[in-house]
Amino acid sequence: MLSRVAESVYWMSRQVERAENIARFLEVTLNLILDQPENLVDPWSPLVQVTADEEWFEEKYGKPDSRNVVQFLAFDDEYPNSMVSCLRAARENARGVRETLSSEAFEQLNEFYHFVGDASPAAAMDPTSQFFDAVRKQTLLWSGVFASTMAQDSGWHFANLGRMLERADKTSRILDVKYFNLLPNLADVGTAVDDLQWSALLLAISGIEAYRRDHHQIEIEKVVDFFLFNRSFPRSIHHCIASANWSLGEIEEASSSDMARTAGPILDELQHRLAHTQVEEALAGGMHQFVDSVQTEINRIGEALGQDYFQISVNT
């Protein structure tokens, strides 16, 4: 397929996933403050920290609170990684490759974009977070439409690659930020509040039910293990990386060219590492360091994909 199209499909899919994850961040936080004794933990600052755009935020909004963080993450037109900006970018990418998408897939994304673009921040602040729930449903619709109307060809695999890499990255960020946020309150370990916090974390990746089936009780190590290494849950980092690697394999298999590629080996290695690391090891070496190194690898994979597939030079 055209390099430009492959790149656009890849980014379209990453951007929708990014928007979805923002909705998850916000929804779970809005839920959290409902159940939480007042002012126990500031839930909003970590959401800004996770973006790595804290300075930008402070300059425009000052101190994080529920109102301005929702505005910033969901609706800020000027912030390129807000939910609405991601969806706009995804839709622009989709428009540029519309002929390679099923009509249903394009129309669903178009509707999704309008749904968020036409929403008012006030509606989103509703503590029952119906709005974010609706956003998650839109993305489920989108992935369902995508799965059942698109041929599972190279274009599909580029989309899956983008989605899985983005999801792995975001899952790691949810874990990272919450871990830092929650861990300092060591006195709370094993208390109801602690349970609540970690449950909320699992809820953010829709994993609470799957977790409880396996472990019943909330334990930090097991939660971390679930996030990082679960082999069957679709939002665990290991599962995402394995799925990305599968798609890359399919793309390479379908390729008629014997060009040298670099993304495959990096992805292989990361998958191998996730399959063979124990959670104790990850925690002992510093969870943040572990997560950070995963994020670095994901970035390297993204760059390698660019060289391998998206910027085909004249001499190839």
Binding site: S3, R4, E92, R95, I251, S256, I312, T316
Partner: protein
């Protein structure tokens, strides 16, 4: 004019509605449905007669409209607009820096064309395209028509769209204008006139196909009862034509659509056509030329390209030959084209026939190349380049429409009767300064079609752009239908979408033996 459409139509009306010669209703066949409260005024209406009663081919439609509960027509109209927006069937508004997208306003009441009127249009367009194609071939090669004194060399050579870089070109099968959208209008008597030819990158066919699909969903009964000819095979025919253009030795040609990109106002259409044909939609940056061959950059390296349906204007096609600043095109494309390694539709240089001065000579071209009388008339045209015409135009600015020769999209137009004295003065100066660039035509009272205005129907002026595919010098096909553009503002005569016009579905009614579209 041959085949006076209105006469034939009224005869048909009498036959089908059971009217006697003097127009009295015969009791046994029931009354012809009329649009309640609708006024045709002094205009020719395409759907109803002067008493607002359905024309024969519109009986099913008017009947349905009458039977709809109050407010239902408006409700369906809004539902259609909403679905077009959701489907992302939009165009970009250039004047808006934010790149706002709009749907082309759509009107729910279709325009209906009687079979005999269509036969007349169809044969007239085929004749016209055959002549225009011969003309293009001639002026870039032998230039016999100039030698024989039919059209002055100065007219051709001074046309900005005449590209000296294309001299001596011989496109495959000697076809230049593969895809044409010719604008037609009907006057107060229902006579059909050619308003202009669009041979560069005529757009709008995607709206024809989409309008049809929403109308089928919203008016299935009236649609079925009206025996409408299908339009859905356009993409397949387009693809077949493009395939046949490929260099002779290529057995399985790679066809692509070349677009300027998502910010082009017609991007939706480029994407739609590529999608419908199942071919790649490429931008200039996706292509490159090596050793006079065109390739596209794919995830598997370079892949050859054999046929390009280009929706990029001539002068942006190749910065090495035309506009050196163009980033929309492909350096070296023209050289690959000359070498016969890639086919382009339309051939570069066809825009010369869009020039409004050249247009005035088309009837002469038909006589010269084909030895036939033109079936479709031009609108009478004054060429300001001719001294006598110019004097007349300057004296009658208040009753003429003046147009800049190279403009399109409703720009560069003066509608004399609606203009202020200052505007007329401004145009007078422009004409005197550059007479070659201006033509003038009498203001036609364009025909009208009932159109939703708020919650009721009013007559609005329309034109018609049928789409024509030319597969060989004598192999021309006209899509039975076309884009009916409607001026939504009361009394307005300019129908272009860039001027706030909308569109309607166009129902060409089948004759015996012709295929009928199914819902």
């Amino acid at each position: 004019m041959q085949n006076q459409p209105q006469q034939t139509q009224s005869q048909l009306a009498q036959a089908q509605a059971g009217q006697s010669q003097n127009g009295q209703m015969q009791s046994q066949s029931g009354p012809v449905p009329c649009l309640d409260g609708y006024e045709t005024g002094s205009f020719f209406d395409e759907v109803v007669d002067q008493d607002a009663c359905a024309r024969p081919d519109a009986v099913a439609l008017v009947d349905l409209i009458n039977r709809l509960p109050s407010g239902e027509l408006n409700r369906r109209q809004l539902a259609i607009e909403r679905s077009l927006y959701q489907m992302g069937i939009t165009f970009t508004v250039y004047s808006d820096s934010a790149g706002t997208e709009k749907i082309m306003p759509f009107d729910i009441v279709p325009r209906i064309i009687a079979p005999d009127v269509w036969t007349h249009i169809d044969s007239g367009l085929k004749q016209r395209i055959r002549a225009l194609n011969r003309f293009l071939s001639d002026i870039y090669n032998e230039r016999k028509i100039i030698e024989d004194g039919i059209i002055p060399a100065s007219i051709v050579d001074s046309c900005p769209a005449y590209l000296p870089q294309c001299r001596g070109l011989r496109p495959p099968h000697d076809v230049w204008c593969h895809i044409t959208g010719t604008d037609l209008v009907r006057d107060n008597d229902g006579n059909v006139f050619v308003l202009e030819d669009n041979l560069r990158c005529p757009s709008g066919v995607s709206y024809v196909l989409q309008n049809r699909s929403v109308m089928k969903r919203n008016f299935p009964q009236a649609f079925t009862a009206s025996m409408v000819r299908p339009v859905s095979d356009y993409p397949a025919r387009l693809y077949q034509m493009l395939r046949r253009m490929a260099p002779a030795h290529i057995t399985n040609p790679n066809v692509v659509v070349l677009t300027p990109g998502v910010y082009n106002s017609a991007y939706y259409e480029h994407s739609y056509l590529a999608h419908q044909m199942g071919v790649e939609l490429v931008e200039g940056r996706d292509l490159l030329v090596k050793d006079d061959r065109v390739y596209m950059r794919t995830t598997d390296g370079l892949q050859s390209v054999d046929v390009i349906y280009r929706r990029v204007d001539d002068t942006f096609l190749d910065p090495k030959v035309f506009n050196p600043k163009s980033v929309l095109g492909v350096p070296g494309l023209m050289s690959a084209y000359r070498a016969g390694n890639v086919a382009l539709a339309n051939a570069p240089g066809t825009g010369v026939a869009d020039d409004k001065v050249v247009y005035a000579y088309v009837p002469e071209m038909i006589r010269y190349y084909l030895g036939e009388e033109p079936i479709l008339s031009n609108v009478p045209t004054y060429l300001c380049d001719r001294e006598e015409d110019r004097a007349y135009v300057l004296d009658h600015l208040d009753e003429l429409v003046v147009k800049a020769a190279g403009e399109s999209g409703g720009y560069g137009i003066l509608i004399g009767p609606h203009a202020t004295p200052e505007e007329r003065q401004e145009f007078a100066e422009k004409i005197i300064e550059n007479p070659r660039n201006y033509i003038a035509q009498p203001t036609l009272q364009l025909s009208r079609v009932p159109t939703m205005v708020g919650d009721h129907l009013e007559g609005r002026h329309v034109d018609l752009r049928p789409y024509i595919l030319c597969d060989g010098p004598d192999d021309v096909w006209v899509l039975p239908g076309g884009l009916t553009r409607v001026a939504l503002k009361k009394g307005c005569l300019v129908v272009n979408s860039s001027q706030g016009g909308g569109s309607k579905d166009t129902w060409v009614v089948a004759q015996a033996g012709e295929a009928i579209a199914r819902v």
